[in-house]
Amino acid sequence: MEKNITPINQLSWKDRLKSYKKHPGSFILLLLVGASAVITVTVLVYLVGYILIHGVPYLRPSLFSLTYNSDNVSMMPAIINTITMVLLALLFSVPFGIGAAIYLVEYAKKGNKLVELVRITAETLTGIPSIIYGLFGMLFFVTALHWGYSMLAGAATLAIMVLPVIMRTTEEALLCVPDMYREGSFGLGAGKLRTIFKIVLPTAIPGILSGIILAIGRIVGETAALIYTAGTVAEAAGVMDSGRTLAIHMYSLSREGLHTNEAYATAVVLLIVVLLINGLSSLIARKLEAATK
């Protein structure tokens, strides 16, 4: 008799199939698990493919002309507004998010009641749906503070929405900075503030960046929180004017039902932005991983 020795943890396909014959239940589980993966991938490929195929042909230069009118529903003003919106919202949320994370990691003592409360409220903010933010923005910024439908009101609303994202990623990035760095800096006579700004923050920048990129993705894709705060005017807007971002532009187009092709084209632009953002953040994540290894 011939004996062939195969390592026990490296079964050949044949052996596996044989073992599945003995354990049909396991085989069914394998099929189910595989099927779910196939379904997930198919859904994504179909969705992205469908929108690209139907949208790319309509990406005509006229859609990017500087002014919007009802014949040529240009998306350029909406693109400009989206950029304004991202910058404004980040202007509010980044300093507060990073500052809060610095307090939680560098200053607060363990078991502090306040820290617990900050964490719980940040978690709560993460779970609140965007329509509730929209309602709050309408009641507080638009009405109570008399800002009216404006980019500023929209940006302030979104800033609260993305605050926990920036806080959490910054916190994680700060926690990843080895204590050695801080001790070294203190040992050289630097104060706490100097250590934070010259040593800890620069080391944590990639992690913080990935949080900011995530936040940008949420701002670009947001609709429900903006309709009743920033409004839907289709012109390039100043800070105190009402203006629609790209996502709202797409909502208006598909709602009116007259410009379906342009809605497809807008969807393509949104998808490309999302792809870019995801690519960037995974690039940073890979760099981070390489750095920590």
Partner: protein
């Protein structure tokens, strides 16, 4: 020297102030929602508001029971579709697929999470609504369509949370099961996954929150009729879409009733959030 010390102290309080902002935000959101919504509930009457089956603002009838039911139906449907696929996919990603495949699947799941809800809604409108109209009953804008779409939308949430909790299970559990003669599948499904069950459950709860709070995508496929539905092929209105649909032109009590709808949604979400964090904490212990 003194200036430096002063700076240190001042900055400490500046950081403290930024940390408190999230507490302030939650308090402000609660205060403004409740202050604007609760009086309307009182005026309409809690029972009439929550239990009334007629929503006719023109006639002064503000019953949101159909919307509560609509939200529950749509969310439940989304769970029936999204939970099995999501959990199985997370098991696949954590314990079945080779590293190389994982490098492809992870960005795919991230992309699913990153696609804006308006794009999902548009896809639902141009692809899924006609599909349901042709292959099932009704005009296509129905509970079924919304449940299908939301089922897809909650996939990435469920997958990523559940995957990380399955990955957190100690390898020795799996090895022990293998050593006892169980197949790979049996070890994973009867030992590893049960060990991660509170994390997996937390993933489902988070999915419920997403589905319940989703607005724009649902609005484009659900039909938005404010009535108690008698079939899954009929249209319905959810709590979220009720707010967006009518806020544009609502005034006075109508407007306040819409804010009160938001309050009801907010309370639902808070309950879900609390159960999520309890589950997460239990998972850590």
């Amino acid at each position: 020297m003194n200036i430096n010390k002063l700076k240190e102290i001042v900055m400490k309080y500046v950081f403290l102030f930024t940390a408190i902002i999230s507490i302030v935000a939650v308090v402000l959101i609660c205060v403004f929602l409740f202050a604007n919504g609760v009086p309307a509930m009182k005026e309409i009457g809690f029972a009439n508001f929550l239990g009334g089956t007629k929503w006719k603002p023109g006639n002064g009838l503000y019953g949101i029971f159909p919307m509560i039911l609509g939200s529950i139906y749509v969310t439940g449907g989304a769970l029936i579709i999204g939970v099995p696929i999501g959990i199985l996919m997370s098991i696949f990603m954590a314990r079945f697929c080779p590293d190389r495949l994982h490098k492809v699947l992870k960005p795919i799941v991230d992309l699913l999470a990153g696609i804006p809800s308006i794009v999902y809604g548009f896809f639902g409108l141009v692809v899924m609504v006609p599909f349901v109209r042709e292959h099932f009953k009704g005009n296509g804008q129905s509970i079924l369509t919304a449940a299908l779409l939301l089922g897809i939308m909650i996939l990435p949430t469920i997958i990523s949370v559940s995957e990380s909790s399955i990955r957190a299970v100690e390898e020795s559990y799996y090895e022990g099961a293998l050593a006892l003669g169980a197949t790979h599948e049996r070890s994973v499904f009867t030992v590893v996954v049960p060990a991660a069950k509170s994390g997996v459950f937390a993933a489902v709860v988070l999915g419920v929150g997403r589905a319940l709070g989703e607005t724009m995508a649902v609005m484009m496929v659900v039909g938005n009729q404010a009535r108690v539905p008698d079939s899954i092929f009929k249209g319905v209105r959810t709590l979220t879409t009720n707010i967006v649909l009518e806020m544009g032109y609502a005034t006075d009590l109508h407007r306040e009733a819409l804010i009160a709808t938001g309050v009801v949604l907010f309370v639902f979400i808070l309950i879900i959030n609390i159960s999520f964090s309890i589950l997460k904490r239990r998972g850590k212990e």
